[in-house]
Amino acid sequence: MDWVNAIVQGILLGGLYALFAAGLSLIFGVMRLVNIAHGDLIVLAAFLGLTVTTTLGINPLFAIVIVAPLMGLIGYGLQRVVLNRTLGDDILPPLLVTFGLSVIIQNGLLEIYSADPQKMSAGAIETASLNLPGGLNIGVLPLLMFITAVAVIGSLQWIFYRSAWGRAFRATSDNQDIAQLMGLNKSHVFGLAMALALVVVAIAGIFLGVRTSFDPSAGPGRLIFGFEAVIIGGLGNLWGTLIGGIILGICQNIGAQINPGWQLLAGHLAFLVILAVRPRGLFPRIDG
């Protein structure tokens, strides 16, 4: 039973990892940008959520309403002011600039919030659980997170393939110059894509902060989980990313079941095995 439980909890955890990954996948799909500061932006969102909840005294899950638009604005500004200048054939500038950004965010948070681990409390929902037949307990909060993750990825998928924004994203991704000729403003489209990605990051950050404690140095770990989910699922495939997150979550929980010290290691090893066996991931859609 412990094992079944570990797998079920792993699936639910995978939803959170898919949320970490979705923004990363979206940005890469639209502008071929890999954002090293992605994890730090998740942690930034968690800290913003903390400030909002403590000043307004509201439930962190409602703080999303404030944090998500805020992160969207930050994303748009960041893309227009800094990141658009780095895009080009050379991969070095975006990589190093986002790396610098990561160091700035981490140390900025350290300066403001100190290195103490923080946690947001969502009240009674945190301990509520559903009792399933067979002695299985599913926490309401993890279930809510998983459902949200599925909904977020479904919406992203819809935006990407069915909406006018999505057409602009795909057109710019396919050929930036022709998209410009057709009247799209590349810089603006990229700004919107980053804004959308950071709205997802805001949701991920709040969930992270409710689920576990976090501190300013937690970002790189989240980036790595998200990245692994993207690669396991296959580049450019959002549903694949969800499955990648779930696989990662299951492997971590099985590893933890064997030996608590192996939790993270098991996830990384699963990633390396997939990389060795299927280097393009399980469900690839575009080339790296």
Partner: protein, 359 residues
Amino acid sequence: MSAAPKHTVARFSPASRAAFVIALLLLIGLALAPWWAGRADMRLMSELFLYLALACLWNLLAGYAGLVSVGQQAFVGFGGYCLFAATIFLGVPPLLAVPAVGVAGVLIAIPVAFLIFRLRGAYFAIGTWVIAEVFRLTAAQVSALGGGSGTSLPVTVVKSIAASRSMREAATYWMALGIAVAVLVVVCLLLRSRRGLALTAIRDNELASQSLGIDIWRAKFFVYVITAGLTAAVGALIFLQKLRISPDAAFSVNDWTAFVIFIVVIGGIGTIEGPIIGTIVFFLLRETLADLGSLYLMILGFVAIIIMLRAPKGIWGYVRERTGLDLFALSRRVVLPSNMGPTDTNGPSKETDRGSQTT
């Protein structure tokens, strides 16, 4: 004017000859430091040499082979742990252990390269980070070396470096200086060789170099593995100096990769001079601003971003664009015969400076 003039290829210029002589004198001066420098100065200089070595290696990897790694801490930490394991469990003398650790670094880098070379560009970068995490988590599982909390080098091992404290300090200082010089020499020789020419071609245009018959995968693999071995040796020296190791310190992304990247970017990526200038600037900044703590790191991040956006070739790239200086004699210059003789590179000669034309 009618017949095609015979040309020669010159590698040294007057500037690089002068730089070579000055570097030799400087090296002799630095080697004598135990007789003229204080204890604290020597420690600082050793640290500077070790960072210089790391920066040169990362620069070779990212600036020449186009392999942007943010996971070099994997090999620094691996080197440190190997040194501790070799000296504590096998009783290898520390000074002999350092080259052995370098070989171990090469051996471990081969399977790692086969795995992560499947990732390209920025995904390669994060892949190297995953490898470093795997190394860190594995090291934390080794209970014989203290697990997650780490361990210290036993007194007997420390004493086996040299009998007296001042001799030990001199020995570790010389080793740090020695490895920095060795790394510089290896990088220079590598870049001057056939392989180096291939690497520079890859750096300038991957597609064009492939069409000229360069095996890109092999060239990059070679650089990755050599860099890993030397990085592991540097890591061994870093922790031989610290005398204490723990997973978090050994595989720290900030200490062994972020700082190194900032050094190279500020100094000038894709040049040999860049990391040297970057290391000096980095230590000057650190000695003056380190009291600011996390604010100092933010400043460093801002400086790196601004340099990357405004002057992507760094300080040395800026200097070279204006002066055409090349201190390390890596370029080949075609010298056409003139009245002043074929060896004069400043004469009316047509120069093809392969270093400064493209990024």
